[in-house]
Symmetry: C2
Subunit: 244 residues, 2 copies
């Protein structure tokens, strides 16, 4: 059945995890990491569409993406959903729940993925003595905040082409950071999700891809996107902003 979480058969915590260099909890030596063991569940498998949490859920865990990808969104009163972000390995999910113990956004897997769950719900004060961890957490949250700000900048620029170009360049940067090939991008989100994320309608996104294909900037085969002309993509992303 879909939508199920399977416990890992015999994964042994963080040892061997590829994401260690990027991970909030992995940046530290084994001894330190063991201090977290009682709070950390590693390698939880999520099938596509598996929801980590919904808006309104009680805050229980902070999730660290280990592999795969996720999307997060807010649901409006009128049933309309606004995609807030796409999340790759190393990203932390669920931050919005810390504030008052309730999630205000939702998150689900876009493909088969793994996450680690970090229990923070009860007495976060007991992180005392784990200040090394706290510092890491602060940085992770600061990073999440920066990403939101980048997103806001994209949403502020009006030209649709520019938005998509900015998004693709940002994605390339993220892929590169993860050591993945950054010329052959495999999008894990639908046109609808991407459109929502960019503040456009899906038809527009589709047309833009066709256009950029036509003009030899990209090679687009559905969700397989190859960047043919990175320089032109840069120009498009930096085009003079609408005067706003």
């Amino acid at each position: 059945m879909r939508h199920a979480i399977h416990n890992p058969p015999g994964e042994a915590g963080c040892s061997g995890c590829e994401q260690q260099p990027r991970c909030l909890a992995g940046r530290f030596d084994e001894a330190r990491r063991e201090q977290l063991v009682s709070r950390l569940r590693t390698g939880i498998r999520c099938l596509p569409r598996y929801p980590l949490f919904h808006a309104g859920d009680r805050f229980r865990y902070l999730y660290i993406v280990q592999s795969g990808s996720f999307k997060s969104w807010r649901l409006e009163r009128n049933g309309d959903q606004q995609v807030l972000g796409f999340h790759l390995p190393g990203d932390v999910l669920g931050i919005d729940g810390i504030r008052n113990g309730t999630h205000t956004s939702a998150a689900q897997a876009l493909q088969s993925s793994r996450v680690c769950a970090l229990s923070l719900a009860r007495n976060p004060e007991s992180l005392d003595g784990l200040s090394w961890f706290n510092a890491g957490l602060l940085k992770a949250m600061s990073r999440a905040s920066s990403q939101d700000q980048e997103h806001l900048v994209i949403m502020g620029r009006r030209q649709a082409t520019q938005r998509l170009a900015m998004f693709l360049r940002r994605l390339r940067r993220q892929y590169r950071r993860l050591g993945w090939p950054d010329d052959e991008l495999t999008l894990t989100m639908s046109r609808a999700d991407l459109a929502s994320f960019l503040g456009l309608v899906l038809e527009t996104v589709s047309r833009l891809f066709s256009q950029l294909h036509e003009s030899q900037v990209l090679e687009v085969r559905r969700r397989r996107v190859t960047v043919l002309d990175p320089e032109r993509l840069r120009q498009l992303s930096e085009a003079e902003a609408v005067s706003g």
Copy 2:
């Protein structure tokens, strides 16, 4: 001269500060707060336009707004600025600098204001034993993240009227939370700043205000806005989203 910081004449730390119930550092008893004293400079006065930090500045302090208001923004390569947020008493500024020690956004006062500066730059690990404070900091950052998400939702909806309506309702909520009158709103930002924040051009914002005035929803006299018909404002903010 403008743009100057004046040290407070004789303010004695947090005692007597109106923002205590909302403040990150103020929620705790005097004894605890004294633990922070070496890291905390309270009641720093900022004249209008005084910049707390610029993009690229080395991260030194986290700022807590005590009175007045601020705006934060990112400057793009082409000189265009995207307003990221407006900040009222109790808000924390400078979070984006924690990540790697450099600010990626800028912030400045919109009016005569006061902030408290909290030194976090060097060895944040030394916050050990201040876990009560760390927990507060986490919540403050979570709150900032929620606000960014609300902003993203506004930017995602296309209809300009809806954006402004959502913004005004959000502002009302914030004013109420601060114990200020929420029917007579005094905007502290220019039309241009508000337009950038909402992803519109200033002419559009100006026209929207005129329209809402015309239709008896608001009374607008430049930056003095009175909400005449809150119910209608709610309807406008919740109107069916563009299908996107």
